[in-house]
Symmetry: C2
Subunit: 226 residues, 2 copies
C-alpha cells in the first residue's frame, strides 16, 4: 500500500491502496456516474475518499479538474495505442481491427464505465479542450486506418459509425444491468471491418495478427492491459 | 396559438405556442441538456417556461416526472413505428432498413437531442421503468427484424451493435458542434444491413420499398414526420 503525501488524512489507509490522488479520482468517478456530476459536492468526494475537503483542493483545483482527469483517462490509453499503430507498416485492416479491439477492450474493462461522463454538459466548457483534442485525434486515427483498409476516402459519417460501434460499449454497459458478454470487444472489432466492407479480410489471421501487434505494444507497468 | 389551461401565467403567451405543458417540457429539455438534470431547479424550469413555479407542479408532480416524459418522447414514436412494421409481411431486410432509418431520423431531427439524457443517473430509479420497458421493447423489434433478415438467431451483442449504430446519432450530434450530415439516417440504415451481412440486399430497391412503407404508416397530425 502506497503511503499518502500531502495533508493529514481523516482515515488511515487509502481506499484504493494507491494514495490520495487516486482515492479522490475513484470516489469522484463513483459519485459522478451514480449520482451525476451536478449533484456531487467536493465534500461528498472527500468523504468517499476518506479525506478532509482541504485535501481534495490540495490535489485538484476544482471539481472540473477532477472530471477532466477522469475523462482523459478514458481516451489517453487508446490514443497512445493508436499513435503506435499508425507507425506500423502492417496492413490497414489488421491495424483497424487492432485499434477497435484495444479501444473497445479498455472501455469494456473500465470498472466505473466512465465513458458515460461524455454526456455531461460541463464538458462543453473551455476547461475541457484537452479532452476534446485527444478524443478528436483518436478519431482521426480511425479515419486514417479506415482509409488504409478500404483504399478510399472516408467521410465523416463513415468515421462516426466506426467510432460509434466502439463507443457503443459504453452505452451497452449502461443499458444492461448485468455484465455484457466477454467477446464484445472482439465482436466490435469484427463489426468495424464489416462496416468497412472488406468481408474477405475479416479472417482468423487478421484477428491473430492484430492481437499479436497489440501484445507487442503493451508496455509492462501501470496502465498496461493484461 | 393554444390558450393555456390551469394556473395564471406570469407572462402572456406561450414560448412554444403549444401551451404550458409543452412550454415546461421545452424549457426543462433545454436546461437538462445544457446544464444537466442535477443542476436544474424547478424554479429555473418555471422561469424558462415563463410560468410561476406552482404552475409547474400543476402539470408535473416532480422533476423526475418531467424527465420521464422527455425520455419517453425519444422512444415512443419509434416504438409505434416498430409495432406497425412488425405486422408487415414485407421482407425482413426492408423492414429492418425502414426501422433503422425512421428511428435514426427521429433522433436526428429532435431539436434538443434529448437522447443525451439516457446517460442521466436518475434514470436508474424506479420512476423510470416505463421508459426502460418501451426502449427494451423497441430493441426487441430490432432483434426480430434482424432475425427475419438473416434467418439466424441474433445474439444480444448483434442486437446491441445495430441499436448502437442508430443511437450513435445522439452521440455523433453531441460530439459535433456543427449539424451532422443530412444523409446520416440513410447511412445508418444502410450500415444496419451491412452489419447484418446481407450486402446483396442493400439495394436502391430496398431503400425505396422501406421509404414507401414508412410513408404509408405516417399518420397525419402532430407527431408525424414529414
Amino acid at each position: 500500500m502506497t503511503r499518502t503525501r500531502g495533508r493529514p488524512r481523516r482515515n488511515p489507509g487509502s481506499p484504493t491502496g494507491l494514495g490520495s490522488e487516486q482515492d479522490i479520482l475513484h470516489a469522484a468517478g463513483e459519485l459522478f456516474v451514480t449520482k451525476g456530476f451536478g449533484r456531487t459536492s467536493t465534500r461528498a468526494i472527500a468523504e468517499g475518499a476518506g479525506l478532509q475537503q482541504a485535501s481534495v483542493y490540495h490535489w485538484f483545483s476544482s471539481k472540473d479538474e477532477i472530471l477532466l482527469r477522469l475523462v482523459l483517462g478514458t481516451v489517453i490509453p487508446s490514443h497512445r495505442i493508436a499513435d503506435r499503430l499508425l507507425e506500423s507498416d502492417a496492413p490497414g485492416h489488421v491495424l483497424l481491427w487492432a485499434l477497435a479491439y484495444a479501444d473497445a477492450r479498455l472501455l469494456h474493462e473500465d470498472p466505473q464505465n466512465l465513458g458515460v461522463l461524455y454526456f455531461e454538459p460541463a464538458l462543453d466548457g473551455d476547461h475541457f479542450s484537452e479532452f476534446h483534442e485527444v478524443r478528436d485525434s483518436l478519431h482521426e486515427a480511425y479515419r486514417v486506418l479506415l482509409e488504409r483498409t478500404t483504399g478510399e476516402r472516408a467521410t465523416d459519417v463513415d468515421v462516426a459509425m466506426v467510432v460509434g460501434l466502439v463507443e457503443n460499449v459504453i452505452t451497452y454497459r449502461r443499458r444492461t444491468r448485468s455484465p455484457i458478454p466477454d467477446d464484445t470487444p472482439a465482436r466490435v472489432a469484427d463489426a468495424a471491418l464489416t462496416l468497412a466492407r472488406v468481408p474477405d479480410l475479416l479472417t482468423d489471421e487478421t484477428r491473430a495478427r492484430g492481437t499479436e501487434i497489440l501484445a507487442a505494444l503493451d508496455p509492462p507497468g501501470p496502465g498496461s492491459v493484461d
